[in-house]
Every structure is written in C-alpha cells, then in structure tokens.
Amino acid sequence: MLQRIGTAIVVILAVSALMLAQALPNPDGIELSGSWAARNFTDAIGNMPGGGPRPVEYMGIPLNDTGRAWSLIYSQSQVSMPERICDYYAPTYIAIGPMGLRIWPQSELLTGSTTAWIIGGWADFVPITIWMDGRPHPSKYAAHEKSGFTTGVWEDDVLVTYTTHMEAGAIRRNGVPSSDQATMTARFSRHDDVLTITARIDDPIYLTEPYYLTRSFALTRAPLNPATHPCTVTNEGVEAQRVPHYNPGQNPFVDELTKLYGIPQEAVLGGAETALPEFRKKIKDTYVRPPRCVSVPVSTCGGPGTYPPID
C-alpha cells in the first residue's frame, strides 16, 4: 500500500513539474544576448575606426537638395564645439559607427518575459533601450533626446525596432545630416553566429527616400565591456558663438574625391540614383581609375593586420 502511495506521489510531482514548466512559455524571439564583434567589411569606409569617409563623400545617399546643401556647409571642426561634440551619437550610430555590440535582455522575473533589450558596449554613447513591453511612443510633442525612443517587436524571429524622438544628428560620419524628424527601423537578423543589422532611415527633411544600411557582426567569446562612458562635453578651444562652416559654394573638399579617386562630381554629391547599378552608365566615360591606392594615410588602403581575427 505504502509503495503504491509513494509511486502515486512521485508521478503527481513529475506531472506537476512538467505542467509548471509548460505553463511558463519561452520568451518570444530568439537569443540575441552576447558580445558581437564588429566585422566592418560591408562599409569599411563609413565604419572605419578612427576615420570614416572623406569630407565630401555622399555617394549612395538619397539626399535631397536641402540635405546636400546642409552637408556642404558642414565643417568637421563642428565636433569641437561643446554644443555639437556629441552630435554623432544618436541611435543611428549603430549603423554608421565602428563598434561592436554587447546585447542583453532586461527580464520581468516572474514570467521571464523580456521587457527590453539593451545594447551597450559603446564608447561615447548611452546604451540603447529597446522596449519590448508594448508601451507606446511618446507624443509627437514630447521632447527629443539624444538617445531617441525605441520599441521592438519580433517578426518571424527577426527583432524589428523602431526609433523616434531623436535629436538632429548625422547619418554619415562626415556631417551628412539627419533631422529631428528622422526615424530608424532596424532589423536584427541572426543566422548561426552571425548577426546582420539592416537599418532603414527615413528623414522627410533631408532624404528623398529611405536610406538602407547593413552591418554584420560575429559572436565572440571575448566579452565586450558593457560599461559606457557617455559623450562628454569638453572645451576644445573653439571660439564661443562661432560655428565652423563653409559658405555655400566654398567647401574646399568638394572635388577631393574627383582628384584622388577619379570619381565624377555628379556621383560625389549623392542622390538616390547614385545607389543604383544603372548609374554606372552615366559615369562610365568620366570615371578615371586611379593606378594604385591613393588613400591617405596609406594605412587606410588596408592590408594584413587591419582586421585581426576574433576569439
């Protein structure tokens, strides 16, 4: 008799344990946690650590006339202004910056549901919080912040995020502007240990159509440091009340790419058509191939040791 009771208790406990386990659904989506090393091959020029594109290098960007004009009056010295030293570090920097990503979930402990994904591992940048709990975006009248406001949903196991309420910033590291009306949709698509982020930037002020960018990352066992040191405003000696800029028609770098790389002006100044294959027909007779790499410094020509293997 005792033996039967014991068996019954064990069975009941086992079934209860299984039911309890089944009552706690797995969180939605797939695992994104970990350290993702940047593999900056897709945009080696734009994402180049410590560098980035040339001052007037707008090819492939669907700029409208306003965006182009604003880009051409930009001087890189603006980043020495206390008011603008942090301009680049909007959420769009995930697409144009050089860094790897440290990603982790913020979970609701009773149910295990993910209330947010956090992306850290950035220099000069506060972590991005991707709210997954269904909260709405703020009112269109709400203040815009450097960090913007980002929500996310899973679509077919791809994390799709939507960012609004950003401050005006840049979409290329040579001052091509983004307005405070810009939004970013980003798709985090994991395949095995490769993560590809596809960013779509919409900006009714400076772009004629969505601007798509992709970056790929490789999962690494070497942890990226999640600590961040947000961009700090410092005095770099720029005279108060002065905004470094070039007057219209006076940007000294406007023909730099033509001289260095033989790229015709109509390509250098960008526009949606410059991103399409058929644009090559327009420049076939005017492009002059440089005989050798002419990048300065010469290290930016690449070569062995430029991209160390990851662990």
């Binding site: 992709t214 294959p277 070569g303």
Partner: protein, 251 residues
C-alpha cells in the same frame, strides 16, 4: 528506484506527446522547396549600393584592400594582379564569381527553375547561380566554375526542438568554385575557399521589399579571418532596368 522508473515513464510519454505536437503530418512526403518557402524571392531586384561605394560601383585602384581581411599571401598575389593579363587570358569574369558577385552593382532576376531549384541571374556579367534544395548532388565528375555548385535549405533560427515554429531564411553552401577575385582589383580567393550565404527578405508596410544577402567567405590562404559582408537589393516592379553586360576586367 521503482518510483523513479514510474516517473521516468510518465515524463517520457509526456515529452513524446509534446514533441509530436510540434511535428509535421505523419508520413507525407516533405513539401517541395518552393511550397515550403518562407518567402518567395522571385522577381527583379536591384542592388542598393549605399556603402563602400567607391570600392563597388567603380573598379578601385590596385592595392586598395580596405574592407577585406587580406593575408600576406593574398596581398602578394593582389599586388601582382595585372588586368591586361586577365584580359589576354580570357579571365574577365574572375571578379564575378559567387563569393563576390552579390556585392557588385547588379540587377538580379530570381526565378524558380523547378520546384526544388532557385535560379538567380545577374545582368552584371550575365552570370547564373542555381540553388538546389533537397537531395540534389553535384554531377560527377565534379567540375569547377565561377558560380560553383550550391545547395540551399530553408533554415530555422531556432535550434533544438519544441517551441513555436520559426520562420526561416535561406542558407546556401557553395563549393566547386574556380579561384577568383573578391574585388575588381585582384584581391584573390582560392578555389578551396568556402562560401556560406544567408538570405533574408523583409517586407515594408508600403509594399516595398528588400533582400539582404549576407555572405561569409573563408579562405585560410588569402584571408586572415572570415570575410563577412552583406548586400541589399530592392524589389523592382518589372525588368525594365535589366541590362545584360558582359564581364569586364576593367569596368
């Protein structure tokens, strides 16, 4: 011990029951790749060259290796690259092989060749890739080509069993390649390089669609680390922009 045996039996039965819920329908044959497709990429697509423009849209100068984890051996070979020799030898297509093709400025025409074969034509260099699903095996004897032999599967983002079904992406493995170039200035890959590709299709709320093609090229001879690169294509309403052009070593 007897208790544990009884409990184990119950757990096993429940586990089998749960697993069965996540499976397909009995002994029916698996659906064709076309029927099982998570998305249908058929149609015309156009490269969107918004990144690395001067390295992709126009042939860069010799020695411009930025963006490729080139090894010392690869650099030595690339430094010796000679466009006129390639042209004289009829090797104008060396930069149009599968490891580099999708990153070139091209239109794609994607069609189902049959229910288990997806065909991708590029107008740039008039190349054809065929992705074979199912139990296809390369014809014997194996023959190398610019596009090699490709086997594709609809892969799940989830490993293991259980949980809700996961939408899938296209995973393509390509072998039997001829040695070629990753870039039009002679950055080489060897014939034994491996090529693994992942393809996603994203639909926008306004009906637009974008294909993102991520490639992982591993070549221990010419590369210091795997070369991971993604390319994007925008869906076209028709083939009006389709413009077949032959391979060119210089343009």
């Amino acid at each position: 011990m007897k208790y544990l045996g009884a409990a184990g039996l119950v757990i096993a039965l429940l586990a089998m029951h749960g697993e069965g819920q996540g499976q397909g329908r009995g002994n029916q044959p698996p659906p064709s790749a076309r029927a099982a497709a998570s998305f249908d990429p058929a149609g015309y697509w156009s490269s969107l060259v918004t990144q690395n423009w001067r390295l992709r849209m126009v042939p860069p100068g010799k020695g411009d290796y930025i963006g490729i984890p080139i090894s010392a051996a690869g650099k030595k070979a690339a430094d010796a690259w000679d466009q006129t020799k390639d042209e004289a030898a009829g090797n104008q297509c060396r930069a149009y092989g599968a490891p580099g093709l999708m990153n070139l400025p091209t239109h794609l025409h994607i069609t189902w060749q049959d229910d288990n074969s997806l065909r991708v034509d590029s107008d740039y260099g008039t190349q054809t890739r065929v992705f074979h699903f199912g139990s296809w095996t390369p014809p014997q004897p194996r023959k190398r080509s610019w596009q090699g032999n490709s086997i594709a599967v609809w892969a799940s983002r989830r490993g293991g069993r259980g949980g809700p079904p996961s939408a899938r992406y296209l995973r393509i493995t390509t072998t039997d390649l001829l040695a070629g170039y990753l870039r039009k200035n002679g950055v080489p890959y060897a014939e034994n390089a491996s090529l693994l590709e992942y393809v996603d299709l994203f639909k926008e709320p306004n009906g637009a669609a974008v294909v993102v093609w991520t490639a992982v090229v591993d070549d221990p001879v010419n590369l210091e680390t795997p070369y991971i690169i993604s390319s994007q294509f925008k869906k076209q309403p028709d083939g009006s922009a389709w413009d077949p052009t032959p391979c060119s070593a210089g343009w």
